[in-house]
C-alpha cells in the first residue's frame, strides 16, 4: 500500500477543524501527522491554563485620577451647554405663559419685530443690489475675504484634540 505524502501542516489543521478533506483523512492513518496533532493538543491544554496577570493595586485610582484631570470632551461640553440653554428657554416660556397679559404683549412685540425685520431686509437687499451694480468686483472680493476669515475663525473654534487612533 502506498502512503500519500504528509500534507502541509496548515492545511492539515484547517481540515481537522473542518473535519473533512484529504489531509484530514491522511492524518487519521499517518503516525507522524498524528504525533504533531497530539503535540499541538497538549500545547493547547497548557496554553488554556495561562492566566492574565492582575493589574497593580493602585491601577483603578490612577486611571480615575487621569480621567479627573483630563479636559472634558467637546461633545459633553456641547451637550451640557445645550441642556442649560434649553432649560433656561423652557423656564422663560413657562413664566411667560403663566402671565397671560405678558404673553399677549410678547405676541404683539414679535409681530412688530417681524414687520420691522422685513423692512430692514428689503432695504439691505436693495443696498446690496445697488452696490453690485456699481462695483461688483470689489464687493465680491470683500465678501470672499469675509467668508475666508469666518471659515478660519470657525476652524480654530472647532479644533479639538481628538486621539488619532481610538
Amino acid at each position: 500500500m502506498t502512503r500519500t505524502p504528509c500534507p502541509d501542516l496548515e492545511v492539515l489543521f484547517a481540515e481537522v477543524a473542518e473535519g473533512r478533506g484529504p489531509a484530514f483523512d491522511h492524518g487519521k492513518t499517518c503516525p507522524a501527522c498524528a504525533a504533531v496533532l497530539e503535540e499541538h493538543r497538549e500545547l493547547e491544554k497548557d496554553l488554556f491554563k495561562l492566566q492574565d496577570p492582575f493589574p497593580p493595586a493602585n491601577f483603578v485610582p490612577q486611571v480615575m485620577a487621569k480621567v479627573a484631570s483630563a479636559p472634558v470632551s467637546a461633545s459633553v461640553e456641547l451637550k451640557t451647554g445645550f441642556a442649560i440653554l434649553g432649560t433656561a428657554l423652557a423656564l422663560a416660556f413657562v413664566i411667560l405663559v403663566a402671565r397671560g397679559a405678558t404673553a399677549g404683549q410678547l405676541g404683539i412685540s414679535v409681530a412688530h419685530w417681524a414687520v420691522e425685520v422685513r423692512a430692514i431686509l428689503v432695504g439691505l437687499l436693495n443696498g446690496v443690489a445697488m452696490a453690485w451694480k456699481t462695483a461688483a468686483v470689489p464687493v465680491a472680493a470683500i465678501l470672499a475675504a469675509l467668508l475666508a476669515l469666518s471659515l478660519v475663525g470657525l476652524k480654530k473654534l472647532a479644533g479639538t484634540d481628538v486621539p488619532a487612533k481610538v
Binding site: 477543524a17 497530539e38 500545547l43 486611571v63
Partner: protein, 214 residues
C-alpha cells in the same frame, strides 16, 4: 497509533481543541447602563467599567509589551482615551473589545517606536557588534526559556503573542479576536496555528549531540 488516531477525533469532540471551542456569540450588554451614565459625566459609572475590564486590558498590554510598568501606563492611557471618546463608542458592541482595541493600538505604536529605536541602535553600533552566532550563554538562556511556556510565549513576535493571549488566556472567540485586531475572522485560526507551531518548535526538547551528528 490507535491512540494517536483517536486523539484526532478527540479534537472534534472535546472542546477546547484546535479552535473547536464553541462559545456563544450572544452579545450581552452588562456595561450599557454604565456607559450611558459615564457619557453623562458620571465618573463612578466609568470607574465601574474600568474595574470590570481592567484585567484583560492590562493583561494584553503586559503580553504585548513584556514590561509591567509600561503596560500599566499604556492600559491607563487606553482607559483615558476610552473615557474621552465615549461619545464615539457604539454601546451595542462589547465595551471590553473596544477598550482592548484601543490598548492594542497604543501597544503597537510603542512596539513600532521600539523597533525603530533598535534599528537605529544596531545601525550605530554595527561595527562594534560581535558576530550574529548565539553565544554559549545565549544558548543556555534559550534552553532555560524553553522550559517555561510563559517565557516561550514572551519570545514570540507581537502578533503571535496577541492572538495567543486573546484566544487561550482570555478565551475570546475568533470573531471577537478579529474585532479587536481589525482583521477578517477567517484569518484567526491560521494565525493561531502558526503561533502554536512556532511555540511547539520552540518547546521541543533540544537535540542531543548524538541526534545532531549526521
Amino acid at each position: 497509533m490507535t491512540l494517536a488516531i483517536a486523539s484526532i477525533f478527540n479534537l472534534k469532540l472535546k472542546p477546547p481543541g484546535f479552535g473547536m471551542m464553541l462559545m456563544s456569540d450572544a452579545v450581552e450588554l452588562p456595561w450599557k447602563a454604565d456607559v450611558l451614565a459615564a457619557r453623562r459625566g458620571d465618573k463612578n459609572a466609568f470607574e465601574s467599567l474600568v474595574r470590570s475590564v481592567q484585567r484583560p486590558v492590562y493583561g494584553l498590554c503586559v503580553r504585548l509589551l513584556s514590561n509591567e510598568a509600561e503596560a500599566s501606563e499604556v492600559a491607563q492611557e487606553a482607559f483615558l482615551r476610552a473615557f474621552q471618546n465615549l461619545g464615539r463608542y457604539d454601546a451595542e458592541r462589547p465595551f471590553d473589545l473596544w477598550v482592548l482595541a484601543i490598548a492594542r493600538n497604543l501597544c503597537l505604536d510603542i512596539l513600532r517606536r521600539r523597533s525603530r529605536l533598535q534599528t537605529q541602535d544596531v545601525d550605530d553600533m554595527k561595527d562594534a557588534l560581535p558576530s550574529g552566532a548565539p553565544t554559549q550563554e545565549e544558548g543556555a538562556i534559550a534552553h532555560q526559556e524553553r522550559r517555561s511556556l510563559e517565557a516561550a510565549v514572551g519570545t514570540l513576535p507581537a502578533d503571535d503573542r496577541e492572538v495567543l493571549a486573546l484566544y487561550y488566556v482570555q478565551k475570546r472567540t475568533t470573531k471577537q479576536i478579529a474585532e479587536v485586531m481589525g482583521v477578517a475572522p477567517g484569518t484567526i485560526m491560521a494565525r493561531l496555528f502558526r503561533a502554536r507551531e512556532k511555540l511547539r518548535k520552540m518547546m521541543a526538547p533540544a537535540p542531543t549531540p548524538a541526534q545532531e551528528a549526521p
